[in-house]
Structure formats: C-alpha cells, structure tokens
C-alpha cells in the first residue's frame, strides 16, 4: 500500500509533529514500505482469538485511598520551561 502526502500530513497533525517537506516525502516512502510489510498479518486467521492487551493476569489494581507524601509544587515545576505562581505558563490556547 502507498500512503499519500495528504495522509502523511494528516497523521503528523494528529501526532502534533511539524514536518519539513523533505521529512514528509521520506516518511511517506518509509512508512508505506513498513505498512506493506505489516499486511502479512492478514494471512493469520484470528477468528475467535481474543486480543492481548497485557500478558499479566492483573485487572484493576487498587491501593488504599490514603494520604501519602508526594512531590512539592516547586519540585514539579522545576523542569518547566515557564512557570508562574505554582502554575505552568503556556501560550494562548484560544485567539
């Protein structure tokens, strides 16, 4: 199968990645080749086979709902590119 440039741009947008024109062309070619290879999975009959999301027998793991120590706001904000008054500072969300 072959991805179109429009499809590559659509995926990049969904993934929040700005790509250069060269990157778009290269990913179009490489992802098409990889997806071609993936089509071999269609050969496998998986009727009545359950999907595996996790190999562990665990389902919902609960812990006691107790107050316990956590990182301080200052520690959590220490790596932020911009912070103010215990908040992450971001560019405008809406015009």
């Amino acid at each position: 199968m072959s991805l179109t440039l429009v499809e590559v741009e659509h995926i990049a947008n969904l993934a929040r990645l700005r790509l250069t024109p060269e990157e778009k062309a290269r990913y179009r070619e490489q992802l098409s080749a990889v997806l071609d290879y993936m089509t071999k999975l269609k050969q496998v009959d998986t009727t009545a086979i359950e999907p595996t999301a996790s190999v562990l027998p665990l389902r919902t793991v609960l812990r006691p709902d107790e107050v316990r120590p956590s990182l301080t706001p200052a520690e959590l904000l220490a790596n932020a590119p911009a912070a103010e008054d215990h908040l992450f500072r971001v560019p405008p969300v809406l015009e």
Partner: protein, 489 residues
Amino acid sequence: MSLTELSLHAAAALLRTGQVSSLELTHACLERAEKHDPQLGAFLSLTPEAARTAAQTADARLAAWRRGETDQPPLLTGLPLAIKDVLCLKGSRTTAGSRILENFVAPYTATAVQRLLDSGTVIIGKTNCDEFAMGSSTENSGYCVTRNPWDVARVPGGSSGGSAAAVAARFAFGALGTDTGGSIRQPAAFCGITGLKTSYGRVSRYGLIAYGSSLDSIGPMARTVADVATLFSAIAGRDPLDATSMPNPVPAIDLNVPDLKGVRVGVPKEYFIAGIQAEVENAVRAAIGQLQALGAEVVEISLPHTDYALPVYYLIAPAEASANLARFDGIRYGPRREADALWETYLGTRGQLFGAEVKRRIMLGTYALSAGYYDAYYGQAQKVRTLIKRDFDEAFKQVQVIACPVAPTTAFKIGEKTDDPLAMYLEDVFTLPPSLAGICGLSVPCGFDAHQLPIGLQLLGPAFGEAQVLRVGQAYEQATEWHKQTPVL
C-alpha cells in the same frame, strides 16, 4: 591484573576482606571511563562527585562490619555501576537519549535504581541509548553514537548500547538496561557480555521513561551470569508504586549447577532461518551441543507464529509509544519552541526536538490507532500476539528452557542500516517474540566471528522463570571461556 578486569563477584570478595576499597574501585572505573570513553561514547554523563560520596559511605559500612560493629552489608555494597539514561536518578540529568529532555533533572529516583542504591552500590554515570529506547544500534541517540569496544567502526547494538559498551569496556562492574523488544539481549550479544531481560512485571518500572508499556522491562547487564543474577535479585519484586509489578516471590538463585541432567532444552526450528550469518548459526549450534554434553536433553520444538512477531511488535510498540510520548509537549519539561499559540508550540517543539526514528514510530503508531485502521492493524496485531504467547505456553509444557540465537548477525557497521528502517527492524527478529509473550531471556557469550566480533546465545524461560535460565546459563558459562575475552581499547 587491573581492578577493572575483575568480575563483580571477584571485586565484592576483595571489598569484603578489605584488600581493596570502594573508593579505589570507583576511581579505577572513573579513570578508565575518562580515558577511553571519549572514543566510545558509552556515557551521556558521569557523576564522579556523587560516586565518591557513595563509595566513602560504602567503605565506612564495610569497615564497621569488619570491626564487628554491624551486620553484614549487602553483597553489592561499594560496587560501581552504570545506569541507562531512561531511568530517573533524583537530582541527575535524565534525557532518555532525547533532545526533548535535554535539561530534564529527575525529581525522584526509579525504584530499580533506588534498590541498587539501597544495596550500597555506587552509580558512576548514565549511559547512552537510542532515543526513548527506540532502536537496535544506539545510533538514534540525540547526543552521540556509541561505538562497539570490539571494533569502534561498529555499533554496540541497542537500545541499551551505552550500558553494554560500558560493561564490555570495563568502565563499570555492571549496568542496568531496559528491554522492550531486545534492547538488553542484542547489545549484550554484540558487546560480548551477559544480559537478562526480566519477565514482564518482574521489576518495577516506577521512574522508567515509558516506551511500550505492555512490553517494557528493566534488567541487569554484567560480565558473568553470577553477576547478573545478583543484580537481578537486588532489583526484582513487587513495588506498590508500579501497579504492573507482580507479587510473585523472588526466588533465591542457586548457581551451583554441576551439570544439566534432567533439563529439557527446546530448539525452535523457526529460529534458524535463511539470512542468518553462518558463523552465528554455527556458534549457537555448537553451544546447544555443549548444553547436551552437560547432560541436557535437547529437543526440536516449533513456535509456528514466529514469523509474525516483527509486524505485531512494530504495530503494538509504536502504538503505545505514540500515546506515551504525547506528554512531551514543551509544557511541563524540556526545552520549548516558543510560538504565539499553544497548538503551534506543540507542533514546533515536537517536530524539532524528536529525532527521526522517534517521529517515524509515533507516526506509525498514530496511523495504526487512527479511525478506520484500528481493527485492521492494531486489533489484528493484538490477536496475533495472543497466538505468539500461546506458542511459548505450549513449548514450556515440554521444555524448561529454549535455546536460540540472540540476533541474526554480529555487530554491523555504523551507518550501515540507518537509511533502511525495515532492515534495522529485522535485527530484532529473534528477540521480539519472547518480548511479546512477556517471558524472560538471557544473552550469554557463545563465540566470535571471523572479525573477532562476539556472538550471543539466547536462553529463554517462561514468565518468572529467571532462576532456570540463569542456572542453564551458569552451567554453560562455567564450561566455556567466551565470557573471559576482553576487547582491547
């Protein structure tokens, strides 16, 4: 013999008697790394000050014990180790090999690392890796290429290539790596050391920067099976901070293995395929012969869905990665590409600061999860994963351990596969199926090719069967000399 030539256990014995101090071992490792690592690029950062402080603490504990004032400290006390830079160490830069975490200083310590610190070890630095552990050569690091100590024109394997190179080059007595689809086993094989991919759920992943969450595992890399076993025992076991860590008891590992009588070893016919380097096949077959000579019963088995593991993995892992890496958006950590609107900030930060392979996998995963393609790609991959796991479940009804190659080739040249993602992905063909099944696997040195490059034997055990693969690995290692070979720097 220089101190850095010792195995972890040999160094521990000298520390106990007081013939050598932790500070001496730490200085020896740091000096060797400072001298030779500029050539190899195994480390992203060295932490000499913290290491010296930890070494002095260890020496004081050992001295107090020798004076009879305290109980015996853990065996690992005072031993210098290296940590893959996807694991958080409080107060140290932790980058996951990515420019998007260039200035990230971890605010807490990963449980696996904390357990090593609690065992008295000395961490000397953080090792290079493929960006977010995505790769099979360490060439995808956003910082530097790591070179194979056996031949600096070749890759060390990946993604834990820095940890493997650091151990092979004798910069540390052991290291932690992570393995999602082969990232401990393949670099261990390429660098001639021993590495253990632990069972999924065996080691807490709290503080590990996530790649593929249904696959990621943490494990030790060192020079001998005994060294790996000791590191494994220190890090394994349930952790309340990781809901996917299992409560299974961590067994004491008895490495007194005089022979392999009564052990059934399976050899999967699907792992000896066209395209495998002849020297690799010959070395692995000879190793299987050695297991037989040690008393093991060797039987041919079949893992019929082996051929589908590669497409299954390269759909599931990128799909999980596309979700896990959504958090890197220039808001909470990392550098930011400033823009007038939030949307533009996301696009610019992620587009510029993720490397080529990470973007490729995020795109692949996003596509596989997108409307209209989910069932055909991701859903089908999850179903075939069930069949791959069943293959192993069936096999382990007949045998205790499976023996096969780690990788189809020895270390390839730097740059040889970077332009062809599919060729690079094929490097993982023998390590992906066990990862998808969540089982454990050990890579042990089993020979060299004509270029004097190491070859690895992969020993697979069922989930939580680390003790049995370590025992078979130990019997093999004790009967051979491959692990004693050292690269000349």
